[in-house]
Symmetry: D2
Subunit: 346 residues, 4 copies
């Protein structure tokens, strides 16, 4: 058996940090050896510092780990970062410069030209950017890779399936996003009970620009972005976990409904530890996907797509759903780390 990598979590007490802890519990390749959080938490046992909000209780293996300040001297080989974007940029760079591979869920570096924005099943060849990045930034063994915004994670996979086969010309996305995406305390009950919020700060621009990079091609050391346009209206709804995306798409080539379904079903999957049985699961049940019933498909790593139909105005419409704190955050970052090991970059 291969040894386990010793990993640290930056922002360990937050909603995504807790999801990292939960998903890494019993992971065959990783062992948590460092938990870092803001000064308020540093110095306390994790069990004291963390207001655990996931079902069950804090795993025994991390309860007594003393939370460290977020400084690049953590006792670990890899860091997972779920820092708020306000501090992520500077901190993550410091960790990378100090030699740590930084697997980030923050938005800070996602659109930097030399930083991979990864959905491993879609664009693992973007790992080639790491070399560019190291040279450009003068990093040694360290580097930064990122995963997409949680809403993007729900529709980029089916979009990739269609783009590869038929070419996407434009996409119109309306998201209905879960409250866990805003962390804890996050969304006040008074804002979302018996309500819909038509606004999520900073979200629409992220959703509109990330997928072109994700679906871009790695050519001569750079990413050539995909040339479609995306429109996004983002809503918060009264759902705990699971982002739903209502999608219309115009394609460059003609295609039948069967082609569309087949393109999604046939999209190649990987064989990493956290890979779900199906990367994209297409359902033909008329009432699916639903967040409560489908967010945990593939242990939260499957994208569930349904209601694929021809559209009156665009070519096709469909509904895509993914678990926003697993596939949309911690789970994706862990998959990225598994990919990096598989490709011997770590």
């Amino acid at each position: 058996m291969s040894r386990k990598y010793r990993v640290g979590i930056l922002g360990a007490t937050g909603t995504v940090g807790q999801r990292f802890v939960q998903l890494l519990e019993g992971h065959p390749q990783f062992e948590i050896t460092a938990l870092a959080a803001s000064d308020r938490s540093a110095g306390k046992r994790f069990a004291e510092a963390c207001a655990w909000k996931l079902p069950g209780t804090i795993p025994r293996s991390v309860r007594d780990i003393v939370v460290q300040p977020i400084l690049p001297q953590l006792d670990c080989e890899i860091v997972f970062s779920s820092l708020p974007s306000s501090v992520a940029r500077e901190t993550e760079e410091a960790f990378a410069r100090a030699g740590y591979p930084v697997i980030s869920n923050s938005s800070s570096y996602r659109m930097d030209e030399d930083v991979p924005l990864l959905i491993p099943e879609i664009n693992h060849e973007h790992l080639g950017l790491i070399e560019t990045q190291r040279q450009k930034r003068g990093f040694g063994t360290g580097f930064i890779v990122t995963n997409p915004n949680c809403a993007v994670a729900s529709f980029a996979p089916p979009l990739a399936a269609l783009h590869n086969k038929f070419g996407v010309e434009s996409a119109i996305i309306t998201t209905m996003q879960a409250v866990s995406g805003a962390g804890y305390p996050g969304v006040p009950t008074l804002d979302i009970a018996d309500n819909v919020m038509p606004y999520i700060a900073g979200e629409e621009p992220k959703v509109e620009i990330e997928s072109q990079k994700i679906l871009g091609k790695f050519v001569d050391g750079v990413i050539v972005k995909a040339d479609f346009t995306v429109s996004a209206q983002c809503f918060r709804v009264n759902v705990i976990d699971g982002h739903t995306a209502s999608v219309r798409v115009n394609l460059k080539q003609n295609s039948t409904l069967e082609d569309i379904v087949e393109a999604m079903r046939a999209f190649p999957n990987l064989q990493l530890h956290s890979s779900p049985d199906a990367f994209i699961e297409v359902t033909d049940e008329p009432t699916r996907p639903q967040p409560r019933l489908d967010r945990d498909n593939g242990k939260g790593m499957t994208i569930t797509v349904g209601r694929i139909f021809p559209d009156n105005v665009f070519d096709y419409r469909f509904v895509a759903l993914s678990h926003n704190t697993v596939r949309g955050a911690a789970g994706s970052a862990i998959l990225n780390a598994e990919l990096l090991i598989d490709r011997r970059i770590i």
Copy 2:
């Protein structure tokens, strides 16, 4: 003081029927003299027959009215119908043939060529169809008028404002609809708590075809439909009242954002009893409209529009909201009746 018209309600015990009762309480032009419902309820006092689900209790004035079977011999001059579509077609025709003006909230006749599909502020000239209808169907004094689907009621008004000024070419609509739209018992809690339903039976086609008729022109005794196309994806969300529509629109003429806002704000209002102060209220608060906060604007008769922005793919995007059982159902039907009186058709 003018006398009050004696009105009956078909389907009086249902969700929309209850809203009729509530809105007609104390109305200066109407007095409820007949309540009709299914055989199970007929013969009972309304207070016994009706599982009242609106805040407060059944108004005293109707508690002791004995519920009648739904037959065209009710003691009233006008009927409001909120019958399920399964029975509405036959029943409403029978009432019209018996001489009753039928103000219907059902979907049965909405798309019939000789039946007005009214939003009074938008298309009161469609009342001209009543004459066509009487001739074609051999009605005497009776006739049928309808109001739109509750989801259509939320976005058709701003669309009309844009269509009149700039010409709508196409619209892509994603709705987030309240559970009261499904009546009672309606949506099971297990289907919507911590969830979004991506499907509402029969809804998307209705939303895609009604607005072209509503925004059509009455020419030579017929409606010439507006020539734009609409795409609709309809979702049920965990909201009690208030439908939210996420809208993208392509226009035939160029227009600035200011033009767009001005077109909505300047859309002419009527002066009927149930007319709100503002037919369309445009808000520039970034987090509005919200169902819980804005559904009762104008006592539920105002359409609130916000988040109007240029769109990446289409020309403009915005969010529209209306109260689905007031403006989207009973309130609209009552407004239709007020219009008919104002125009001396009743």
Copy 3:
């Protein structure tokens, strides 16, 4: 016409502060002339400083009032206080000392021996304490009166009805409290969606001690507390407004179920402006009271009681409900002010 009193609101931007603004809009006896809030808000127009969370928008009459710091030099004759208890004690005393009648919704002074804890219908004779208070504290024209905790407001009225007739020996209360009681941002969605919180900080002791003072007798310048004991377990549930109390009560005298109902129904009401038609409304519908349907009874000032039955272990059980930010907070304070005017104390 009598003139209007000029009133100020301390903590005007909070959840209860907003409710004060809403309820005072158009009030025949009061006119808002001063709004005070924390330093962060002071100096801004109310419309800018306040994140309005009630349906509709901020009343026009207060939008442009410049928020003042919370210092006893406000341009008004009476202050309503909804300050957090952390600052209420010192601040409210300062205002009283400066000559303002302070009508407080805070918990700070509720249990002070010389401060009335008022439910006007129950214990208006406690106003006699004001004289005691002025002497003891050296106040001039100023004074402090308080209203009870929002959960107490739901069950103290029926308890008073029973205590007056039959003597209460002990009561066991389990509350299911609405999120608006925690203010804004207040309860995180992640804490209450698909959940019940078995803990509300500091609540159970308040609920256990306030009702004995409220139901006490004013004798020789002091309150002689009622001698029953109360047990309270307090839960937060996923409800926006409206606290429900599940009550068992042991009585000193035998009584029939009819006696119990009659005692509640016959409890004397007042004739103040904010007095509801019924102070206590007893319903015999088996599924009532319900927060969503009954919280607005009597414009939020009625206590609705139902499910009154003999109990297996105690004498009787019942369910009581009231609107926690109207009868349980701002509405009660306004009623207290109306009482003070009626009794010519202001």
Copy 4:
């Protein structure tokens, strides 16, 4: 390895029936060979007949089983019954008479003197009633055992712990019950969103009588019921799964808080396949137990108890929580079957 018992499920398409299917998937002792449901479903494949409402999709192993009518000729050795009480009494007797062990979750036979009402950890010696039952009813190899009402399952275990040590004199219970307890479609959203329902049909009497039998002693072939009294007020709250019980208890013997906690923690557990690590888990976190966080403790089979404190009126108070469709229904029935096998009754 020992062979698997072939089991059938009566009422397989319902909420509890689905939970049976889910929990039996991969069970080492049982294999589903028959699914029975109402005439509407009989003859269809399970995947067609069942509107699956649990996360994920119908297990592959049962998708193609053809649903049978509910008649005692099913191809199985044991039946689990989740029939509605309206039909359970007659049907379950017919199955028992035909030789099937009937493990019932219905309420029909729970209080029959000769039918065990089992919580295996508490009263496995009640299995002795089976012999009585067979003789009295003339059953051959068949018999009926039952598990308690889902709300009783949440508080009976801690009550048993206290009763065994100190003697319970009386208990006052207020429940906050999840919507899944009402099946599907079950509770309409309009009844529970932003609301609490103070009434669950038939529930309070069940909760008041079952625990005395459960905690009774098996003496000379009959159950001598425990001699305490229980008062129950039962509320439905906006929670999907997980019943919360607010409990006050008077004890016959004095005891310290530490005694109380110790009695619960030390309550003996069993070693059956579905036995959780802890039968009763006592938490000292002030905000626990919570349904969303604690219902899945012990895979839904643990009772979580918290907020144990001395009470003002009774001796002690606490909050108990269990998963209503696992420990409170299907999981308990399966545990009963495991017990019957372990004791070689099956």
